[in-house]
């Protein structure tokens, strides 16, 4: 029983109120589905922007000092005096390279993946999967989007502000970030984004705890919901230290404090204006305290989506559901005590580096458990290789490569050689690009019918998938080789170094052209996406014959989500049950059927 005496208020409202106008329905809506779509669409635009930035950078890496085709002139334009040019004479400037690099990372992580995975998929799907009418705090949900958007716009606007965009990496290390142009807007933008995340994570946790349908105990939750729950705790508890650090760095920049500015700092031959006494390492600790759990924020929702799609398309229950749940919870907990593996090269004692190395090795275990369970789930299944399943299955080896390449980085001895090389870039991109982003694509193809009532085209989907999969590997595998050869990251022109020529001259061209090719093969996806909204094949309520609760709602679900009260009778992945003609038995179908 829901225990709420205001349920009669619903029918009152529908009689008494006129239909809300355009603005309340589509812009300032408190409906989690509208907010989810807002987050997803905004995030996809940001992902597109972030990808465009790297395409410009890749030209410089492949053809150092050459004019950028098509965009070179535009990027060299002096908009006003004091405008921080990205390029000059059509050629990317080092400052421009740094700015594009810093913003690419920031945009992809904070404006792209997290809003899509959590704000988009989490917001839209989670309440449906638990049988809730909406989030626990619908207005807070709306607020979190409208705090996110200004944060994102401030980040983008920073390109046009005096000083230009941030140039000190997405990591914004002091003292460079404090003395550099362009970080103030980055810091202000981050404060907006972090606040938005905090509001959202509170909403997620209370909703999952309190608004589950009758019969939906915690161990009957789809793995996607567990993943979102752990993610919400990570966002809740790990982001505030970065918010504090952002405030401190802002104070350093704007109020002249020396939280991160060391004594005796000399900048270009002159003594720095700060009084000193600060610690650059303090910034690193506070930043990575968030940024490590952040990477699990990037991967957990993806694992959740992959689990849903795999269970559905193997027509088998997930293997090791409980292990996966415990692993996800353990992973979340451990993620708070590994952060200094990003700082092995800062001169810490062996005692502490051993501690963090140990925790880092331990945290690989739950990842392996989840991946192994997903792989074993394929065994003996009647696999349907539709587009979502292609992306979900490809996630597995891609995430495996990403995870395995993390091990030499987590071991201090090998990290000495690999830190700050292209190996790191290859490692983390394998996890987020053919890892998380593939899961995002899987989710889009999978839940598109629920959101729109239509399916996306399978043909265009396959044309999207195969080249993307091949290009991902052509882009990021060479980086592993380059890194092992010692090629440094964040270098405007690695070919000025002799070693750089051997590693960069050919491979950077391979990577760059693969990146451009991959961009071209996103066009079928974009066409497919928009065309299917209006002209896609119309489908029933549960076209994938899935078992979880979101498929009990109409497609698209109305305000309030379900017709009648949803009730759950069994585990989430009852596929191919013994003694039944259908190869699936949804959670929400009564026992008498």
């Amino acid at each position: 029983m829901s225990g709420d005496h205001h349920s009669h208020g619903h029918s009152h409202a529908s009689h008494a109120q006129h239909a809300p106008g355009f603005w309340r329905s589509y812009v300032f809506s408190v409906d989690h589905k509208v907010i989810g779509v807002q987050y997803a669409v905004t995030a996809l635009v940001f992902l597109f922007i972030g990808y465009s930035l790297i395409m410009i950078m890749r030209w410089q890496l492949a053809y150092p000092g050459k004019e950028i085709p098509l965009l070179g002139e535009l990027l060299s334009k002096q908009l006003y005096s004091g405008f921080q040019n990205l390029a000059s004479g059509g050629v990317l400037l080092p400052e421009g390279y740094n700015a594009l690099g810093a913003m690419h990372g920031t945009i992809m992580v904070f404006l792209g993946i997290v809003p899509l995975a959590v704000g988009g998929f989490g917001n839209y799907v989670m309440p449906l999967q638990i049988g809730a009418p909406d989030m626990a705090f619908p207005r807070l949900n709306m607020l979190s989007y409208w705090v996110f958007l200004p944060g994102g716009l401030i980040m983008l606007a920073s390109f046009f502000l005096p000083g230009g965009a941030a140039q000190s990496g997405w990591t914004s290390y002091a003292p460079l970030a404090v003395i550099n142009f362009g970080q103030t807007a980055w810091l202000v933008g981050m404060i907006f984004l972090i606040t938005s995340s905090l509001l959202g994570s509170i909403n997620f946790i209370v909703t999952i705890a309190h608004l589950r349908a009758r019969g939906l105990s915690m161990y009957r939750l789809p793995f996607f919901v567990w993943a979102q729950l752990v993610t919400a705790f990570l966002l809740l508890l790990a982001f505030p230290p970065l918010e504090a650090a952002g405030i401190l760095q802002l104070m350093d920049r704007v109020a002249g404090t020396s939280f991160f500015m060391p004594s005796g700092l000399v900048i270009s031959g002159k003594a720095a204006e700060w009084t000193g006494g600060g610690s650059p390492l303090l910034w690193q600790h506070l930043f990575w305290f968030l940024a490590h759990p952040e990477v699990y924020v990037l991967i957990l929702p993806a694992m959740g989506i992959v689990a849903e799609v795999i269970a559905n398309n193997t027509r088998k229950p997930l293997w090791g559901y409980r292990s996966m749940v415990y692993a996800a919870v353990f992973l979340g907990f451990m993620s708070f005590i590994v952060w200094a593996h990003h700082m092995f090269m800062t001169g810490m004692s062996t005692k502490m580096s051993t501690f963090f190395q140990a925790t880092t090795m331990i945290i690989s275990i739950p990842s392996v458990i989840i991946l192994t369970a997903l792989v074993i789930s394929l065994w003996g299944g009647s696999i349907r290789f539709n587009t979502p399943m292609l992306f979900a299955t490809a996630f597995l080896p891609m995430f495996a490569i990403g995870g395995l390449t993390g091990l030499p980085l987590g071991l201090t001895t090998s990290d000495i050689h690999l830190h700050d090389t292209y190996y790191v870039i290859g490692h983390f991109h394998y996890v987020v690009a053919p890892g998380t982003i593939f899961a995002m694509f899987a989710g889009i193809y999978y839940w598109f019918p629920k959101v729109t009532g239509r399916k996306m085209s399978e043909t265009l989907g396959k044309i999207h998938f195969w080249p993307t999969f091949i290009c991902m590997n052509l882009i990021f595998f060479p980086m592993l080789i380059q890194g092992m050869g010692g090629l440094s990251r964040r270098t405007y022109d690695p070919q000025v170094y002799e070693a750089g020529q051997a590693l960069a001259a050919t491979l950077h061209k391979v990577i760059t052209h693969s990146a451009y090719l991959m961009a071209a093969f996103q066009v079928p996806f974009i066409i497919n996406f928009f065309r299917s909204i209006w002209a896609g094949e119309k489908v029933s309520q549960n076209p994938w014959h899935a078992t979880t609760l979101e498929w009990a709602a109409p497609s698209p679900p109305p305000h309030g989500n379900f017709v009648g009260e949803p009730v759950v009778y069994r585990d989430p992945y009852v596929y191919s049950p013994v003694g039944r003609s259908d190869d699936y038995l949804p959670q929400f179908v009564g026992p008498e059927v």
């Binding site: 408190v30 309190h210 608004l211 505030p240 405030i247 002249g256």
Partner: protein, 198 residues
């Protein structure tokens, strides 16, 4: 557009608390991490500094002691407000809310005098890491006090009409706001000795 969200003011059968209370505790958990990061910064900066002044040589301890008492008293008045509301005394409850607001404003007035005295002497956050820590931590705490004043004043003022529609919901809101307010007091309880007394 209003649909009924369950457990807005009724306790959930499993957790035993309504949505708002759970949400507020989660928010406070994040605030613990926020101020925790600042305390961690203070620890790291002070521990590694070759020398660090004692707070009582540079700051006004008697004034801050008064402020500490003001904040503690405001915590008492806040919880008394909730108690009165649970006993059905709306007028008394509201009065205690306004007392809390008044005391909170008093806290800010004292802080204003503290800060302006320092600025008068040319002492700004940039002067030293000690002052950077002092101004930033008390400043962020002060912002939280402002937030509390706005929330409590809203409940005592325009938000009080909720009492007549749903007294339980209103009392819960006061209780949850009280949780926030006690947390603000709690941070000061640690901030005061850390900055002024050691």
């Amino acid at each position: 557009m209003e649909m009924s969200i369950p457990y807005q003011y009724k306790a959930h059968p499993v957790t035993g608390i309504p949505n708002g209370k759970f949400a507020m505790w989660l928010f406070l958990a994040s605030e613990v991490m926020l101020f925790g990061a600042l305390f961690s910064s203070y620890v790291m900066l002070r521990y590694n500094a070759p020398e660090w002044p004692h707070g009582y040589t540079l700051l006004n301890v008697p004034l801050a002691t008064v402020n500490t008492m003001v904040l503690i008293t405001s915590s008492v008045s806040m919880v008394m407000a909730w108690a009165q509301l649970k006993m059905g005394n709306f007028a008394r409850g509201r009065m205690y809310l306004w007392v809390t607001v008044l005391l909170a404003c008093g806290f800010l007035v004292v802080k204003y005098f503290e800060y302006s005295h320092k600025f008068h002497l040319g002492i700004y956050p940039s002067k030293s890491t000690f002052y950077a820590v002092y101004f930033t931590m008390t400043g962020l705490h002060g912002l939280h006090v402002v937030g509390g004043i706005i929330a409590i004043a809203y409940l005592a003022g325009p938000g009080a009409s909720l009492w007549h529609r749903n007294p339980d919901f209103y009392a819960n809101r006061v209780e949850n706001t009280g949780l926030y307010w006690h947390f603000v007091d709690l941070v000061w309880i640690f901030l005061f000795p850390s900055l002024y007394l050691i």
